[in-house]
């Protein structure tokens, strides 16, 4: 898993323990991962951006996104069922925060 994390090499910031005061930083870090994936080609990413409709992420890019988030936040593997209701970056931020909280 560490090998995979190194290879993915995305936004490899130190893993924080999520506390209430750091909840905001989880949101920021999710935003960072998404922005890194779109590389500015579709303009700025904000919480209201829709992953498919506004950011034009295709199925491979969406998989890459999931892998990057799992690695960054040390989350359980995401799948189609747990992600089917996520449309916007905000919903993704909330999902990641919820998963990170459960982990604790």
């Amino acid at each position: 898993m560490m090998q995979l994390a190194n290879k993915l090499g995305r936004a490899s910031s130190v893993l924080h323990r999520t506390t209430m005061s750091e909840a905001k930083s989880t949101h920021d870090r999710v935003l960072e991962v998404v922005s890194h994936l779109t590389q500015g080609r579709v303009g700025p990413v904000n919480p209201d951006s829709r992953l498919v409709e506004d950011l034009s992420l295709d199925s491979v890019a969406l998989l890459e996104l999931a892998i990057a988030l799992e690695t960054e936040f040390d989350l359980p593997l995401m799948n189609a069922a747990t992600t089917s209701s996520i449309v916007t970056v905000r919903e993704l931020q909330e999902h990641v925060e919820e998963q990170a909280r459960r982990k604790r």
């Binding site: 090998q3 995979l4 190194n6 290879k7 993915l8 590389q39 080609r41 579709v42 303009g43 992953l51 498919v52 506004d54 034009s56 992420l57 295709d58 199925s59 491979v60 969406l62 998989l63 890459e64 996104l65 999931a66 892998i67 995401m78 799948n79 189609a80 069922a81 992600t83 089917s84 209701s85 996520i86 449309v87």
Partner: protein, 557 residues
């Protein structure tokens, strides 16, 4: 050519050969052809119990797994036709997914559905939404039925759905005879031996994954290493290991698969690997991208990979799969084109040609890689707008005839850029033949491919009209084949500069960085239309190439 029957391997399935599936725990699980044969015959009996008769459709709703294999062959043993349904992908919106899948299932009208209990609720929702609740749902893991004798009575073996414009699915009717001929053409083309081993991560719901990487090696009874597409994206190293540490020698992938592996794999992890037995790496599904292949071969060459392994290929579901391909004994040929002078029906201006491995300039723009020669038995000609043959080196539409051409669309839905004629199939792809080799320039003005996904000009027009408030009657989107993934041209009638800027940004957002966008504004009448109001995109592409479109407020991104 006398291709073996589709089920010939079932008469004497090998115990020592078979399929290896990558487990999520990380190991590979082996299933011999003998085991797979028994399971297929067992599930065939369940399928036959559901009154599936000759030509009845069975929808198979499974991801890449051993049960998918037994469901496919089990359906054929029982005499049915298969229609493979892809389960939802990561982040796929459930509503959209159910709507899209229901349209396919409704059009397929299945007698039975083979799936696993984990998908039970979703399959139920889809069948209800498709109005197909009469279909019997069969558990793919129940192969306990009494094995039945193969009864390949169906004419159509496979309904291969491709998405038309505005998401309307079209099912290509691929016959048993089509599959036999195409599988044999692939085996002869790549000189497939009994000891060749395939390694694949391609979705089995598409022609290249299903026919090229599963049915062909099965007919050949040779080993296959199989991963799901998401397992490849997660860790492309697992796929490379099949070649570098294990015995794999054959694969097929679209350009972006090679480019993705090259981007993601840490070269340090390749130490100790040996890719010298990697004999065939088919590059298909898009116009061949010399840069992607060069990146990949630069990464692996120090470890024994030969650029000669790359076989560019051209194919489409409407011709079963394989149409033309590069010769395994020579490196791919590339031509340096004068792209600016490309004109439909006219000779193509070629500055020079060279072999891919020799190209010092392979990364520079302007080189188009050949898709090789047509496979034996398949005829490829270049035709003009009226369907008349054009001389060699002329740019026209690619027309295919021969025993691999499918028997049309289900329900005769013939509204896309690809059209069946009594003689063959008009592909909607522009290309030319040089020195006996087929060069595919790209889709013709109505659609384009980005990372393997087809984008339709019709759909872009709808999104542009929605996003800018200028009605579709006053705008047009034209896809233009080009040297680096192509470009898109859009024209608005009686619009202003603000519209041009907004439209260009919107298109760029949808298409991404690799596609260039040009938007201009013209007076009423700039957009040429047919009597029924459809835009004449190819003519406008032509006029723009010749500089005959007088556009204002041009924005290029």
């Amino acid at each position: 050519m006398n291709p073996p029957p589709l089920l010939s391997w079932i008469l004497s399935p090998r115990k020592d050969r078979g399929l290896r599936f990558l487990q999520d725990s990380g190991g590979w699980e082996f299933f011999s052809f003998e085991t797979l044969c028994n399971r297929s015959q067992g599930i065939a009996s369940r399928i036959a119990d559901s009154n599936v008769g000759a030509g009845d459709v069975v929808c198979v709703f499974l991801p890449t797994c051993p049960e998918l294999f037994s469901a496919i062959y089990g359906t054929w043993i029982a005499g049915g036709s298969i229609c493979l349904i892809v389960p939802p992908m990561m982040f796929e919106n459930e509503e959209t997914y159910v709507a899209h899948t229901s349209a396919i299932v409704s059009s397929a009208a299945p007698k039975a559905v083979v799936t696993t209990p984990q998908f039970g609720n979703l399959v139920g929702r889809i069948l209800r939404s498709a109005g197909q609740l009469q279909a019997t749902v069969i558990n793919a893991e129940d192969w306990s039925g009494v094995p039945i004798t193969p009864n390949l009575a169906a004419e159509v073996a496979l309904l291969q759905f491709t998405s038309g414009s505005s998401g309307t699915p079209r099912g290509v009717r691929v016959t048993v005879a089509n599959l036999r001929y195409n599988i044999e053409a692939i085996r002869q083309w790549i000189r497939m031996g009994a000891d060749d081993v395939t390694a694949t991560w391609l979705p089995l719901h598409h022609d290249m994954g299903l026919i090229g990487c599963l049915l062909t090696p099965t007919t050949n009874q040779s080993n296959v290493w199989i991963m799901r597409p998401d397992q490849f994206v997660r860790d492309p190293m697992r796929w490379l290991e099949c070649f570098g540490r294990n015995d794999a020698s054959l694969c097929a992938a679209p350009n972006f698969g090679y480019a993705y592996a090259a981007r993601k794999v840490d070269p340090d992890l390749l130490t100790g690997m040996d890719f010298s037995s990697w004999r065939v790496a088919i590059a298909g599904a898009e116009p061949v991208d010399a840069q992607a292949l060069t990146m990949f071969s630069e990464l692996l060459r120090p470890f024994g990979f030969s650029t000669r392994a790359f076989l560019p290929a051209y194919g489409l579901a409407e011709a079963t799969l394989a149409v033309a391909g590069g010769d395994p004994s020579t490196p791919p040929l590339a031509a340096h084109l004068d792209w600016g002078s490309l004109s439909f029906g006219e000779p193509v201006s070629i500055f020079s040609t060279n072999y891919l491995g020799n190209l010092a300039c392979s990364r520079s723009a302007g080189w188009l890689v050949s898709s090789g020669k047509p496979h034996p038995g398949t005829s490829v000609t270049i035709v003009d707008d009226s369907g008349n043959g054009l001389p060699t080196d002329s740019l026209g539409e690619i027309f295919i005839a021969g025993p691999s051409v499918a028997s049309g669309y289900s329900g005769n839905r013939d509204h896309g850029a690809t059209k069946f004629t009594p003689e063959g199939v008009l592909t909607g792809d522009a290309g030319f033949i040089h020195d006996g080799e087929l060069f595919v320039v790209g889709r013709m003005a109505d659609s384009m491919k980005i990372r393997g996904r087809t984008i339709y000009a019709d759909d872009l027009e709808i999104r542009l009209a929605d996003g800018t408030g200028v009605s579709r009657g006053r705008l047009v989107v034209i896809t233009v084949p080009g040297d680096q993934g192509g470009s898109v041209l859009s024209i608005g009638e009686q619009a202003d500069q603000a519209w041009a800027i907004q439209a260009a940004q919107l298109l760029k957002g949808i298409l991404g960085r690799e596609i260039s966008v040009k938007v201009g504004v013209g007076p009423k009448g700039t957009i040429q239309r047919t009597s029924s109001g459809k835009p004449r995109r190819r003519i406008m592409w032509q006029l723009d190439t010749l500089g005959h479109l007088d556009l204002q407020h041009v924005v290029a991104l």
